[in-house]
């Protein structure tokens, strides 16, 4: 069995499972953010009327708001706090960081487990070798919270093998964007993805992170990297506890796709969709007014360090506002210790509280018509950020564009 089948078989109490069959599996972790917690709790309280069976498995992170701008939103958070307290679930209030980064940093994600969440990018946790996927509020309210279970149709597994050595200025984010464009939105509906090959295996864990992250954007159910020594060391360092890993047997895959990325240019996902990916040379020169490090795929320490490489000795273009949103308090504190907060501030960037940042423009990130933002965020669909256009790119490209005032190839800035 492959990794997904092994995890789902274990979780559903079966000797083996095969693609296509429906299983009812135990879930080890349920992740809810501020918006979905509210809606899920409402369904649970009003329609299901059952207690939360395993509160210790439930993690709520307020990340879309770093501070409620309206009374209506304050009420929603107040209701969430009361609900979390009543049921004894884990709560991380505003300013803790992005839901997925917080959950991982706080040690809630372990290899071989079933992780479900209302956020569609929940598959990102497959980075450490778990089966992770996004479910709707009704799944959580009807089965997850009251019974600790979820139904799954066992997916077919597709292995994506990436090899090659990228050139300086080309990052894991560029490779991930490139794959999104190659596979296409919806190209992998209902399937699970295994990211493999020397390129992916050679990456540090927080760079591998960027691959399972794209699973949902190509329509997949989940994405993972087989856990290895690096994964286990990473988790041991994070939590002080070295977990056991489950690995797939390797043969049970429906399809194997391969890419060689040595010659790759930096990539940009252009409006209106995540799959509309172009090499930076095709879009360089498009004026931008906003730049942001943040979101599920950005705001990592790695991103902040990369941006600092570009901004060292330079200043943000006067026509651009550059927002930096750390992915968690840990990252923020570490960036402060490394002097990166001062460095980026001095270069003209503005620091924001750890959160989802401009995702859906709840505290920030609404654009005027004809304005454009380049960011490390995961989505660029129209309507999420006011009237403007969103471009997605690597931290290097975001920083380089912030300096130039238009989409720019970061290789001109880092050598």
């Amino acid at each position: 069995m492959n990794l997904v089948e092994k995890i789902l078989a274990r979780a559903s109490g079966r000797a083996r499972v095969t693609p296509g069959e429906v299983v009812i599996a135990d879930v080890d972790r349920i992740l809810l953010h501020d918006l979905s917690c509210y809606l899920t709790a409402k369904v649970l309280e009003e329609e299901v009327r059952q207690p939360v069976r395993y509160p210790e498995r439930v993690v709520v992170v307020f990340d879309h708001h770093f501070s409620p701008p309206t009374e209506e939103q304050a009420r929603m958070l107040q209701a969430n706090r009361a609900w979390a307290q009543r049921h004894g679930v884990h709560l991380f209030d505003c300013g803790s960081g992005n839901i997925h980064h917080v959950a991982l940093h706080a040690g809630f994600i372990q290899p071989g487990t079933v992780v479900v969440g209302s956020d569609s990018h929940t598959p990102v946790h497959g980075t450490v070798g778990c089966f992770a996927t996004g479910l709707g509020n009704y799944s959580h309210a009807a089965l997850g919270l009251p019974f600790g279970k979820a139904w799954f149709r066992v997916p077919e597994l597709v292995r994506i093998e990436v090899e090659g050595t990228t050139r300086p200025g080309v990052t894991a984010r560029d490779v991930a964007l490139f794959l999104t464009g190659q596979i296409g939105e919806g190209g992998m509906i209902y399937r699970a993805l295994e990211f493999a090959g020397p390129y992916v295996e050679g990456l540090e864990v927080f760079d591998r992170w960027l691959f399972p992250l794209i699973a949902v954007d190509v329509g997949a159910k989940s994405g993972h990297v087989q856990p290895d020594e690096r994964t286990l060391n990473f988790l041991a360092e994070l939590t002080g506890h070295r977990p056991e890993a489950v690995r797939g047997d390797g043969d049970d895959v429906a399809e194997v796709l391969g890419w060689e990325v040595s010659g790759l240019e930096p990539q940009v996902a252009c409006p209106p969709t995540v799959g509309n990916v172009h090499p930076v040379s095709e879009v360089a020169g498009v004026p931008i007014q906003w730049a942001e490090l943040g979101g599920h795929g950005g705001g990592r320490l790695q991103d902040i360090r990369l941006a600092a490489q570009v901004l060292r000795g330079r200043h943000v273009h006067p026509g651009v506002r550059f927002n930096v949103v750390p992915s968690s308090r840990w990252v923020f504190t570490q960036a402060l210790r490394e002097g990166l907060v001062e460095e980026l501030h001095r270069a003209g960037a503005t620091w924001f509280p750890p959160s989802a940042g401009s995702n859906q423009a709840i505290n920030m990130g609404a654009l005027a018509e004809d304005e454009a933002m380049v960011s490390t965020h995961a989505r660029n669909f129209p309507g999420r950020n006011g009237s403007g256009r969103m471009y997605l790119a690597s931290a290097l490209t975001v920083a380089a564009s912030a300096v130039a005032g238009c989409l720019s190839d970061p290789r001109e800035f880092v050598r």
């Binding site: 329609e47 009704y138 949902v216």
Partner: protein, 168 residues
């Protein structure tokens, strides 16, 4: 669950995100308000003129992006009888059955219909008949597990049975 839905169709393209079904800033509003803005960015006439039992037809990967269940709830609140698409984003697909909105995957459907055609959709057989043109298409039949959910009106009524393994 009705066995058949008959109504005018509204046609949308590929990769329609949930953000386009319900825009982000509306999600905390009352459903009565949200309903009046469903899919308005793609077709402003839709929320104003949609009638009970109308059929939404879409291309590939309908309902991608955020897994917000409110996208399904809002579509349901417009009175739409069912959604027929080339394919669905998986969270949308789950949400639809879990909330009792009939949907059918029907490869080739977008080539068969034009906006405003009258369709008859048989949910049990999975057949789609374009009464305006006489064309027909066969959808992937709804798997028994999900059909049961749909017949129950969603996941909540059968949750206990599922959890206790009556299904096995």
């Amino acid at each position: 669950m009705k066995a058949q839905v008959r109504g005018r169709c509204w046609v949308f393209g590929d990769n329609v995100p949930t953000d386009a079904i319900v825009r982000s800033h509306l999600i905390t509003r009352p459903m009565d308000e949200i309903r009046r803005h469903v899919l308005e960015g793609l077709n402003p006439r839709f929320p104003r003129e949609v009638q009970a039992d109308d059929v939404v037809v879409a291309g590939r990967h309908f309902g991608q992006s955020s897994g917000r269940a409110i996208a399904v709830r809002a579509l349901k609140a417009t009175g739409v009888g069912c959604v027929v698409a080339e394919s669905f984003a998986r969270t949308f697909y789950r949400n639809a059955f879990e909330m009792g909105l009939p949907i059918l995957e029907c490869p080739g459907i977008t080539g068969l219909v034009s906006e405003g055609d009258v369709l008859t959709v048989d949910l049990e057989e999975g057949s789609v008949v374009n009464e305006t043109t006489g064309g027909r298409a066969q959808a992937t039949p709804i798997p028994p597990f999900l059909r049961r959910m749909l017949e129950a009106g969603g996941i909540i009524p059968i949750a206990r049975q599922l959890a206790e393994g009556v299904d096995r």
